[in-house]
Amino acid sequence: MTTLDNGTNSTPAPTLPAKPAVSMFAIGTAIGAILLTIITAISVGFSLGEIISNFGRKNSVVEGLLNPDWGQIWSRRSRSAFIETLQLAVLGTATGATVALPLALWSTTFGNPNRALRTLVRSFNNVIRSIPDLLWALLFVTAVGIGALSGLLALFFFSIAVTTKLTSDTLDGIDMGPIEAANASGASLTQMLRSAVVPQILPSYTSFVLYNFELNLRASAVLGLVGAGGIGARIEFFRGRGDWEKLWGLVVMFFLVVFIVERISVTLRRRLI
């Protein structure tokens, strides 16, 4: 067996070049993150001990989760709330996604040559995107009134936000060749978008719409918490009565359905791209 150390270890080790300074950006980010964590932990009164002691204690919520009441499948009211949730998700997605396509196209340089108009569309998208689903619901419930219509309007705006964002990200990466070709053949802006751009993004767009539907299904379950229809109203009702067995029975069942729908949708989406 041969060894390497003969000859090498007898000579002193060569000195390495001076170590370069660690990038200021990396240090800054790391320190910033740690500081932010400490400050936020103090400001919300975070305590690990509290988590452990609270979970160790007996409480009706966890007990309810362990013994959910499956009887909710047979309750007529729960079932109609369930169906309403599904319908809200479908309609919200269909309407929102339809509006989202032109909005996404108008936020690109090639789809909207007018700079001022483009900035306007982009800012509109940004504002819509920064309002969460439930907040939309709360606003519509206040202005339009309690009921499914407010839920639908909330999901409509929420869908616009999601699909527009995803579609414009895709639009950033498309092949500019066909656009040039369409322009060279004398197409109008709309013709160009329809024939050179839409075919390129259609598979992704469809997949985004499906994904948006998954999100809406989840969101529509909680709209009822603020009075915007769907299954959330039932959840809120059981919560008010402290009936955790029934609440968990309903919630677990609903999310099993969401889980299954999501698996189907994921399979479809894989087929699309």
Partner: protein, 241 residues
């Protein structure tokens, strides 16, 4: 791999030649157990590779340096950290996890870097190096293991001819000066004859030649390749094309 009976002595510089798919890669990876043997016996430094358990295999691998065709460097980290990977087996795990290597190991890495003359790139990201420089880092990583054997799987296949010669010279020099047994896979004839003490020819997993580089003429190569030589088979001629 059929009926292969080989014995390689300490300090030998062996080149295995054959077409791609001839079994060169499998043979070389069997030596450190990256590819398990289906049958037969393989003895490395007195260990039967076949019968080693996980710990034994790691022990053996730490004594066998390996150089890869695709360099296998972590592109995002520095050259030094890549070379220090060669010390993983010798350093306590907790130290390697937090990245605090003992000075002695850093010295070994520094020597390895100096040997392949790339020490000035110590703190450069691996991704910022040229192909030849990357392979030298690969060699340094193997050297940092202080191995008794070095395996090189097509070490120059992704490099241009002049760089290939540089890399081959480093390998030859290291083998001679440190007495490390070296096994190199190549598919270029001229490189093989230029650097090998001993050439092993493989064809479809069968040994067709085993002898010193000087005895290896074109007729032998034709038996290895199973056809007459073309310009593709020598680096010099291929480069001239």
């Amino acid at each position: 791999m059929k009926d292969l009976d080989l014995e390689i002595d300490d300090g030998e510089f062996v080149v295995i030649v054959g077409l791609s798919g001839a079994g060169k890669s499998t043979l070389i990876r069997a030596v450190n157990g990256l590819v398990p043997l289906t049958s037969g016996e393989l003895n490395v430094n007195g260990n039967d590779v076949h019968s080693l358990n996980r710990t034994g295999l790691r022990e053996l691998r730490s004594d066998v340096g390996m150089i890869f065709q695709g360099f296998n460097l972590v592109d995002r980290t520095t050259v030094l950290k890549n070379v220090l990977m060669g010390r993983l087996h010798k350093v306590p795990t907790w130290r390697t996890l937090i990245g605090k290597y003992p000075q002695a190991d850093i010295d070994i890495a520094a020597r390895a870097l100096e040997r392949v003359e790339i020490i000035e790139k110590t703190y450069t990201r691996a991704s910022d190096l040229s192909g030849g420089q990357r392979q030298r880092v690969g060699i340094a990583r193997a050297l940092a293991q202080e191995p008794s054997i070095i395996l090189a799987d097509e070490p120059v296949a992704s490099l241009d001819p002049p760089t290939s010669h540089v890399v081959m010279r480093y390998l030859q020099q290291i083998s001679r000066e440190l007495g490390i047994t070296t096994i190199v896979n190549l598919h270029f004839l001229d490189l093989a004859t230029a650097y090998a003490d001993r050439i092993i020819g493989l064809r479809d997993g069968v040994l067709v030649f085993d002898g010193p580089g000087s005895k290896c003429d074109e007729a032998v190569f034709e038996s290895i390749y199973g056809r007459s030589l073309t310009a593709d088979d020598t680096m010099a001629k291929q480069a001239a094309l």
